[in-house]
Subunit: 440 residues, 2 copies
Amino acid sequence: MSGLSGFPEFLPADRNVELIVLDHLREVFELHGFASIETRAAEPMDTLLRKGEIDKEVYVLRRLQAGEGDSDSGLALHFDLTVPFARYVLENAGKLDFPFRRYQIQKVWRGERPQNGRYREFTQADIDIVAKDELAFHFDVEIAQVMAEALSGLPVPALTLQVSNRKILEGFYLGLGIAEPTTVMPIVDKLDKVPADKIAALLQSDAGLTAEQAKQCLALAEIRSSDGSFVDAVRALGVEHPLLDEGLDELLQVVTGASGADGVEVVADLRIARGLDYYTGTVFETRMEGHEQLGSICSGGRYDQLASDGKNTYPGVGISLGVSRLLVPLVAGGLTADRSVPSAVLVALTDEESRPASLAVAAALRARGIPTEIAASPQKFGKQIRYAERRGIPYVWFPANGDDGDRVRDIRTGDQVDADPATWNPPAEDLKPRIKEQVT
Amino acid sequence: MSGLSGFPEFLPADRNVELIVLDHLREVFELHGFASIETRAAEPMDTLLRKGEIDKEVYVLRRLQAGEGDSDSGLALHFDLTVPFARYVLENAGKLDFPFRRYQIQKVWRGERPQNGRYREFTQADIDIVAKDELAFHFDVEIAQVMAEALSGLPVPALTLQVSNRKILEGFYLGLGIAEPTTVMPIVDKLDKVPADKIAALLQSDAGLTAEQAKQCLALAEIRSSDGSFVDAVRALGVEHPLLDEGLDELLQVVTGASGADGVEVVADLRIARGLDYYTGTVFETRMEGHEQLGSICSGGRYDQLASDGKNTYPGVGISLGVSRLLVPLVAGGLTADRSVPSAVLVALTDEESRPASLAVAAALRARGIPTEIAASPQKFGKQIRYAERRGIPYVWFPANGDDGDRVRDIRTGDQVDADPATWNPPAEDLKPRIKEQVT
């Protein structure tokens, strides 16, 4: 981990963990037809700060060579991948095919004070589906299912994908006779930090609810289930509203459709409120077992107005995985890979004169996809083996020499066999770096 | 291509070209045992601007939320990957195994004026080998050979990897009796832009050479060969010096060792001077046929003092490929991929009720590694086929329906066959996006 606070950097073996994770994410996203895009790191300030916001923690760019009179470049580093994606969609709307599925794995930056210990640079992996004018609901189910599958293959502790739906809360509040549901949501959203009786009091004093209405709102927020039983639990509260029905049906489809991925429990959790003024239906959060203090490591939802150019509206549904947020603490806790290099084989060097022979062995192995490096110098073989050991390279190859033919040694077991560089293969699991220690 | 000058962005099909290129580079680098690292985007200003430089075109970062009295954060975006790598090596020297081979594929930024049309954000792919105290010469050969192999598989016009060696020039000038070789190099370096007779005059007026010395310097700069014949050509000039001998021997090894990769001609070219005050031996430049105006798209060399902490010195040899510099003009000229999505198959949808059947087909295909998406809505099959066509998806799958079993159609040929989602495979070349149009 690096010396500059908030800018995490990995050592090579730990970077291999990150590569394993990123490769897995990409594989799942592409299997589901999500196209890769990257957007530029910088956006005009007015794209980043909409509606007069000026409280965002962003890094503004200034040209060092700017003249005296020049102001800032008007550019700042993006702080998420959603805002740049919305801009990309509008800018290229005529050239994209909708519905457009995209994944985007990039760094983002936040202009935090160095003292506060928060990340100032981190990697996110987002998937979104965006359409023109209208986006069918089944895409909400797809987004949840794809991310659950992606999360399922990660070398991390058990995950819980919590799903809710704004329509349930809004419909329930309306069904209770509350005229302004939006005054209720921010108060209920504090349930994580504030005791329930305090919330009940606030709902009455600040949102003008009756004691009974407040009790019902809290009862709704208590409901969670990893199957469809949450529907009956909500019904049992006796509140009715068409929007509530719609929300329950949607949430049931998402929970049912996304369940079944190993290591990822999908639950309907009606306490999840996640910026409900922003999302318009499905919302997601994700907790990692034993790391609850990280908050949600993977969040998102449906926004019926991801982007709009005044003429057309582009609704979207998406979810964003905080790759650094997930990995940096796990790596600090010991998660690493079994080697610091990609090499599966180190070809030993008998003497400087026989370097061409060692090069030929390496070329033969590489031609069949086996990552191979050659010992830096013709030290004693014991030293060359330790060279491999330090890097976690599992095999050392001894080129033919005099009466001895080519031999390869698994340095973990000491087993040594005769081998032909044109045909020998390591077991598939030794071909690439693997996770060494699974942290739980 | 995007609307913000200097910040190129790709449409999805063009991004697939970039992914094909980046995947290929990574594969070659890893086959040769180069470890991946990434460094943070920002470095302290004093790391970026060494020795009192203040003329670098860098982007300085300022926190939008900085208070009145706060100055800039002291950070700026890196403008290459060499300076951050040197800092990373020093910072982690105790935890790295030397010699350390690393590749690094990342964006870099230059704080250029928007008007000048230069890139302000672009991707570079660097490989370097760095050692502690001493780095054997054979690593120069390895770096050239690995990059030649990496360049060889790219979907680009013919490339020429031009190699020279500072020791040849310095030894030759010393052998000519020139006391200060460093005064000669910057003048000879102008040969690309200034006529030879003018250079000869400058060498006499500004560097104090005799007419004969100037003539010899120009004769040396004319020498180029893609085999070992440059050695004889230099010898024929009749100049002798131990440093010249050493340089000729080194250059011969690099040219011989790196030759043989398809599409990449390796030539000894004694006009290449490339910041010779910086490099200490081997130097590289690369030209692309028909795109000479781009200048060198892949450059580097040997620097005996990549990094130093006062106690230890870390010599290195490396080469840096300008991925954006190479691809952006080619994509603008028509280089693209055969599809805008990763999907090899679109599963058609008979009606909304049979969506689960289409999902099951897709799951069966994905389970065997076939990227698959499902039609967004149950339009007429003709429309669903055009949906696939627009995205370049080669196959449309029609799930079993009534008496009809599962069928799959190659929409490029119209050929349709009965198929089982548990066993059918597309030809390997259809599994992933491919380069559609090779620009020459």
